[in-house]
Symmetry: none
Subunit: 181 residues, 4 copies
DNA sequence: GATGAATGAGTCTTCATTCAT
DNA sequence: CATGAATGAAGACTCATTCAT
């Protein structure tokens, strides 16, 4: 519910109905609406960043990055609601995860950007700036989850078939854009 | 306000405060909250799609597309709130612009995708699928507006300086990915 | 508008629309909503009671009363909205015309009831109590205006044709009920 | 509250105050103001029409009708607020019970009017049209409830004593008007 | 005269939350 | 565990009225 209607747009009644409970019973398990949301967020943050952690500095740069793109796209396909939940949160100015962003997330991205810079310096990768490369991967893959309605509306797709095309496109795209020389 | 908090998350009181009016005075000018939102949306839709329309079939394919990317990025920089407004709308399932998406927007994208397919067939462009290329352009550029808080948090940027880096990155990126051979 | 929706149920906007004026312009002519209502009421009170005043003590009792019934029924046919306006006012406890009721109206009815009592005493009229006879005349005639929707719904009537039947019924009815001996 | 002020003229706050509850608590028991009103109406409709159903075709015509008048007058005395509730509803055009009027109510009245016509044809009743006779009974009896304020103002009555006079009047009145020959 | 602008006071309704059982 | 009852706070919208032009 949060992922579709946002925090304010979701009522505990809706959550309770979806869960087959009464409103009061939901509040028996969670102290407040905020708490439900917070638990969702926190439980998700690590899952969300795992794929990036898996980008191995020892592997082949282009293959590592393309594999990351594919993992991220798969995540968008399998967990579109979670993706939208983050999108909502960040659109609203990330009031609840601001510290994670400027703390652990920033550290992780800085580290991976440095790794990318190393690959570029070593001539193993076309000259790309790491942070923006990561942004591009996030945006191109999450787009299929966050803007799903638009994607479906334009492609006329009613199932997940278009994800295969997206994968084909993104793989070729990143491969060409990243392969040096 | 709508761009930050979404439709449900925004109260007329907030809008009124921002505008220096009373709640009732806002409702004197607009018959309802829906009407305010609808007027915003309708006024924006054409502005939002103009850049894509400007992608000239007679021009050099790579240059045309890169120029489109740059125009779109500039739009994100200048009108980030408008970008977020659309993001919110689509995240919520596009309840108010569903018809535009499956109608005029789909037509326009289909047309441009066909144009891209022509360029690819003529060997003027690396083999990319048009719809997904357009999705990638939308997502990579709008990301700087929609996820602005995250981008700033990670880059530590407090002004628009990072847009220049984004432009550099995206230009190189698309040029490499699209240039044939 | 007042006659259909009552005082609270009618807005100045509705009155203005009906009159082809703007709300403010209506309030230019009348100082307040109360004033509009009050003027309506006062202008009507005398019209409403005139027929009763016309019941002549010198005439033939049965004919005088039957003639009064007919005049009152005609008034209901011609001015149904005015009748409903009074009905609304009295249903609500007559907050605005309470003094008229306990003052001039009561006096008039008392006088006419005395007149009827005289006729009865003289054997010119079947034994009826004057006040209640007057109440019966008011109610049976105004019923066709006040409960018009119900009357039409039951009779399936869409015009004024049923008023002729009502007149026939009421004339025979009152004649039989009032004729002495 | 509805019976005095009508639907629009009654606020949930007033109802709540009368019931010793808070406004929101009233809305906890009833989903909306409309629902409160609807429940009142529906619960009343059958009670309201029962007396008419009790007019027995096998009994003595004049006695049956006079008995109906007495039952109806008693109902007005005991349930004046309910009577006024219907009066309000019908004055406003019966928006909520239009279908009952043109459906079940019309059927019932048609049936009873036919019964009366039979009695008249058999010479057991003075020549009266059934529908209008029923209207006269409704109006003369309900008048004591609907126009109570006026009746009291004119008679100077502060209790129910005048109902006895009304009964005397109406009994004699209907008996004379209905007895054949 | 007429009207655009503005607003205080309601009025229905939603909703998160508390409390007792 | 679960739920009926209750409520403070807010929110969208209406409306009579005022004021300036």
């Amino acid at each position: 519910m949060f992922s579709t209607h946002g925090f304010r747009g979701t009522s505990i009644d809706q959550i309770a109905a979806e869960a087959g409970l009464s409103k009061q019973n939901v509040l028996y398990y969670y102290p407040s609406k905020d708490a439900i949301y917070a638990e969702l967020m926190n439980g998700l943050l690590s899952v969300w960043l795992d794929p990036l952690r898996g980008m191995d500095a020892q592997g082949d740069p282009v293959e590592e990055i393309v594999a990351y793109v594919m993992r991220k796209l798969e995540l968008a396909r399998v967990m579109p609601r979670e993706s939208r939940l983050f999108a909502h949160e960040i659109l609203q100015g990330a009031p609840r995860i601001a510290e994670t962003i400027t703390g652990p997330l920033r550290e992780l991205v800085d580290e991976k950007a440095a790794q990318i810079a190393g690959w570029v310096k070593a001539g193993q990768l076309a000259p790309v700036e790491g942070h923006h490369l990561i942004f591009s991967i996030w945006s191109t893959t999450q787009h299929y989850a966050d803007f799903e309605v638009q994607v479906r509306g334009i492609l006329g797709s009613e199932d997940d078939a278009h994800y295969a095309d997206a994968a084909t496109f993104l793989e070729g795209f990143y491969r060409r854009a990243l392969t040096p020389g």
